[in-house]
Symmetry: C4
Subunit: 189 residues, 4 copies
Amino acid sequence: MSKGRLETFSDAVIAIAITIMVLELRVPDGADWAALRPVVPVLLTYALSFAFLGTYWNNHHHMLHATDRINGKILWANLHLLFWLSLVPFITRWVGESHFAPLPIAVYGGVGLLAAVAYTMLTMAIVALQGPNSRLAVAVGKEAKGKLSAGLYAVAIPLAFVSQWIALGLYVFVALMWLIPDRRIESNL
Amino acid sequence: MSKGRLETFSDAVIAIAITIMVLELRVPDGADWAALRPVVPVLLTYALSFAFLGTYWNNHHHMLHATDRINGKILWANLHLLFWLSLVPFITRWVGESHFAPLPIAVYGGVGLLAAVAYTMLTMAIVALQGPNSRLAVAVGKEAKGKLSAGLYAVAIPLAFVSQWIALGLYVFVALMWLIPDRRIESNL
Amino acid sequence: MSKGRLETFSDAVIAIAITIMVLELRVPDGADWAALRPVVPVLLTYALSFAFLGTYWNNHHHMLHATDRINGKILWANLHLLFWLSLVPFITRWVGESHFAPLPIAVYGGVGLLAAVAYTMLTMAIVALQGPNSRLAVAVGKEAKGKLSAGLYAVAIPLAFVSQWIALGLYVFVALMWLIPDRRIESNL
Amino acid sequence: MSKGRLETFSDAVIAIAITIMVLELRVPDGADWAALRPVVPVLLTYALSFAFLGTYWNNHHHMLHATDRINGKILWANLHLLFWLSLVPFITRWVGESHFAPLPIAVYGGVGLLAAVAYTMLTMAIVALQGPNSRLAVAVGKEAKGKLSAGLYAVAIPLAFVSQWIALGLYVFVALMWLIPDRRIESNL
């Protein structure tokens, strides 16, 4: 089965999720600097989620590039990942509208963690089809960044109730960690 | 006529329908657990519709994969299917906002039934062009799952006025039935 | 210059326009039959606009299929067409919310007329590049349906102020006229 | 690494941004000419932003067409550009809702300037990979229109506080300047 449509569909869902977040941005209630001020933290949350989804698109791009063929199991694992990614605009809006309250920040981490789990399941489904000696299996075998991200999200969830700023700081750290181009798979190809 | 653009357009419509549903999700009116509680059934409806549209994308992917060429009739049959699928975000929102009232649940089943009819018409248009001995005709000839789904939707519509939970249970059952990877066409290819 | 991205971009814009219209659909203010009743005319307007945009996608698909290459002028003519098509969700919403008042119905015809003009300009730009003896030039030379549609829209605009139902009837007639598969270009290929 | 998915994803994001702007358009509060009047400036802002995003898509199309391969740095530079473009619907809505107040007009210029900077960074990343003697490097070497646009945006930002109409006039001028088909790269190919 060809991977073309899987890529097209995933690209469309991620592109829509990344773009409709801007629909959630409340227009300032006025046209002066004072009205712009409460929008700034919301814009920063938007930028964080943009980086989050952009990273997933980027990694998805790399992984599928190293994949030869797909099967039904991979289609469903991919839909599962897209489900969690599609919730990002919702949780981003809640974080923004609640002015960074602890619970939304914790749920944000939960969505991040479940997306990471779904991504790992997708990777495993692809590696299972490609075989343990494939380029991809070798490339992801050394993968530490993915596990570290999932671990940081898991740690951030309870920490959000201690201080939401620590949790938010961890999300920003994970985002920045990924903004460095991924040489792992690239260098293996 | 090539099938490439038909796939791209269908992917885009389904991807948009699946993703804008999240725009319908009302952000909780607060940032505590009590505020999150009324959102849970709405989230579950969203997950059900996500599985519903994901299943259609998945089956559409398989069917078009087994198709060599298309004609004008297939283009229109495909648009007809997309019309019913595009109503899913609307009916999902109504089900959620009405707190699972009987009529919206029944209309949900109606949209599901009409989408199933449209899908069958699309299948027939494709088989008519491909010929009765094509791989696809052989594969769908044994198809029981599609007919069972349509039948369960038809039964669920009146049952929604007896108990909406029975109708909803049937929709969940149909969704789960499809979440098992479709070996029918795959094994014939 | 290849036509692949032009098709992808046009597909995406039309797919988004066709799908976001459903976001405009107001959920009924209740869960009984009485609440569903005012939604019915809005749903019918949605179906009309769905057929309108679906027809443009269909014809665009046929025309580009008969096109070998594109240039900068065609890119801009295509964007011009997409501009008018992107206004369809807006005008559909206005028609629905105004309960079929004459002015919105007239503006609906105006958007339809300008989209038809833009489509003709795109056809001319493509024929200019393809040459007068190309398959496409021969195919569109006999084109009467396009001119008839534009003429009916032009007539419907002033008629909307006499009776909006006559104007609306003309739009439905144009939509049905196109729902017959387009054998013109197909038979020439 | 192939450029196909980069193009698909960029097309999708720009297509969504260009189309969801129409969702921001407030439907007139009535169905007569008086109700239509306040919508006219908002429609013109929409047309301006449509031309703005259409120009970026057009130039992006030309530039990627002249590109052979991509790397991780280009993926991120592209996401950076898409981030600023995704803010266009938000700022367009603010300009419209504030009835052309100075601050939103200035922020509009700021988004335009940052998008121009991001586009230049993307061009540089592509030229760095393609080499100084590539077709693209030669083509963009003479580029004056891009620098002029960025300069006009930079000038318009402070001018918006003197007179928003001067700033708006500069944006319209930049848009018209680009509506002339781009013969630069085309003629070099």
